[in-house]
Amino acid sequence: MATFRIKRYNPEKQPEAYYEDFDLDIPSGATLLDCINLIKWTKDGSLSYRMSCRSAICGSCGMKANGHALLACQRQASSLLDKDGTVTIEPLGNMKPIKDLVVDFKPFWEKIDRIKPYLQPGEEPPPEKERTQSPEQFRLIDDTSTCIMCGNCYSDCNTLEVDGNFLGPAALAKAQRFVSDSRDQNTHERVRELSKPGGIWDCTHCAECVERCPKPARPFYRIKEIMTVALEEGVHNNNGARHALSFTRSVKASGRLNENQLPVESMGYFNIKGLLELVPVGLRMLLKGKIPPIIHKSIDDVKDVKRIFKDLKQ
């Protein structure tokens, strides 16, 4: 006998959410969705959640189990039980609950909309047949195109927890779908937009989206790919790009990070407000003797590191 501890919420009845336990014998091979269906159909018909294809392609049944987002149809229920035989089910995070496990996807879709989620092939009329695209070019958009918009990455994104303005992993992965599509002619404009606040450089590298993604889409990798394109496209006038360039320059020069230079160069030498923001933490560290050595020392054999940079034309 397993216990499904489900977070219930029905503002028609009472304003606060609460947890309700349902005991169930898990049928052999049953997925979490199978079990939740059994609970709804045999124990409490008022339990609300979304589901449709039950084969991990429609993206409806995202929810949290034991604190982490997953597709209920994709996981064996028995694998989710803790040592007391309990699994805790909650709605996806970073979105407003509507009822029980149903959350409001409106902001999610609005952000998808914001990245201009459609091919921009330029003005020329399309050819009579298909546009050609090599298998290598196809591979650049193969993984991202597996996204099923389930919202699991959005739910567990660490940046979104504190900044609702962040586009979020799904929208950025969708953006990479076009940034890296050989048929799209708007790459520069796209990466320029995506480099603004709320875009790629607000990703905090937590990689929760990689863990939660039920498909090969893996948004964090896609975000990094956009960053590389943005730097190649010369979109450098923002802290994120300056940070990456300064960091790389520093490794090239000395084989290691120059911690004194990096913050200043990230802000930009003419960004007075940004530079002033660095003062308090700098002062605190200075007072404690934590400021890195003013004379930046290179690693031994830095020549070899420089050679690698040179060979790679970096």
Binding site: E12, K13, W41, S55, C58, D113, P121, P135, F138, S145
Partner: protein, 570 residues
Amino acid sequence: MIEHDVVIVGAGLAGMRAALEVCRDLDVALLTKVYPSRSHSGAAQGGIAASLANSEDDSWEEHMFDTVKGGDYLSDQDAVEEYVKSASRVIYELEHMGCVFSRTPDGRIAQRSFGGHSRPRACFSADRTGHAILHALHEQVMKNSRSIKVYSEWFMHSLIIEDGQCRGVVVSDVRTGAVEVIQAKAVVFATGGYGRAFQITTNAFASTADGVLAAFNSGIPLEDAEFVQFHPSGLYRQGILFSEAARGEGGYLLNGLGKRFMEKYAPERMELAPRDIVARAEQSEIDAGRGVNGEDFIHLDLRHLGEARIMERLPQIRQLGIDFISVDCVKEPLPIQPTAHYSMGGIPTDKFGAVVMDAEGTRVNGFFAAGECACVSVHGANRLGTNSLLDAVVFGERAGRSALEYAKSVASPSVNESREKTRVLSQFEEIFQREGSESYNDIRNEMKVVMTAKCGVFRDAESLAQCIEKIKALQVRYKKGKVTDKGRLFNTELYEIIELGNMLKMAEIISTAALARKESRGGHFRSDFPKRNDVDFLHHSLVYPSDGDGLELKTKPVVITRHQPAERTY
């Protein structure tokens, strides 16, 4: 009251393709009970057919012949001809929209073999072709959001037809439970199939006959309802789809003796015979006790393809096996059985997507349908794999264009809003007030079991009579069900009850049409009449509602142009 020029119900491939057509000139409402990207079109895996000839010579003529033969000569050949001729163009259009396709080494759309197609004709995006097209169309819908208003998570309850003219639909917002009328000059249905009436099915929980039943309840007949396709490779017990592409790429079917049994049933095409033939072969092996370990499944063996090819061409299938049954098809064969997959039948339309009432092709003004919910009929008695995505795109476009032209030619019709709303509200009320003790879960399960057992791959007069009797008893019990949730907010129980009511009626229609067709053809196999009978049954069936809860059966001739019915061997 909500007003739009055109309302489209269903946002899968057909619905979205139709919306893109209508939005060129008019304002369109696109209604879906899920979200567009959650539509079941996205579950299609293997490919979309077109004679692009990218890897081997091909022609629309060959595509047409394969389709007609595959459909056991029940297809309307005038429609098939236009359909296959459009195929290349619509696929290039999808590619131009941005659809992601797997490619040949020289960068063209890659194509592979599929059951019943004599040439490698399936254009594909790994093993998620439906998903790729669905998202490409969704992208275009988002691009055109100024003229396409999407109503996600809205449920369509009924069609408003007055004085022979379609005037809109009655709908409700799942989130709030609010009932609304959407008035429109034209209505397009793209509501998909109804495989959920069966126990073993590939279909999503959302595939529940809401659209076809709304049409039927307005007095429109359903065509060829007896023709349900059973897909040969459903995951054992669950029915989840393992694409035919697995066999297209060279996969074997093995019985319990480890033998490739298809050599007995289709010696030439082997595993790549049409689905009806392969599904029957599998069921015959299972029924003869030659399932694996004597159980109700056989094996789909991909091991000889190797990990690299599986990862390139069939990655999703591999993941499904690992996630759902912990079987890695690189190392072990997959347990499969036939699974209800596709409805060849549906709302009768002409080749322009206009809904027709009778054998003479009398149109219902302002009402159009496309995709799986419609019966044009291009698939006849059995659809070939990869022809359904093509159907959805070709006829989605046609229905959209027809609706656009029609809507431009008429004034806004009047609708009695309060009467229409009251009908649906009183249906809600009636359900809420049921005080019975019957479990909807039991009723649904019993329906699904009897449909798979008595109206499945093999049928006969006795099993079908039992099936109909059982379904009728379930319809009575349905009225005495127990309801838990009487709230308005996101009440999924209410919608599931309404869907179950629709499916019970649909199950009766399917089994009644199956009982009347005393021959075997395509996906409909009568053990008591194992031969095709062109003398008595080379016609479509039409099931009409008749007084009260009754059904009335009529027939409609098949359009035969290029290919006279001939013996069908593979």
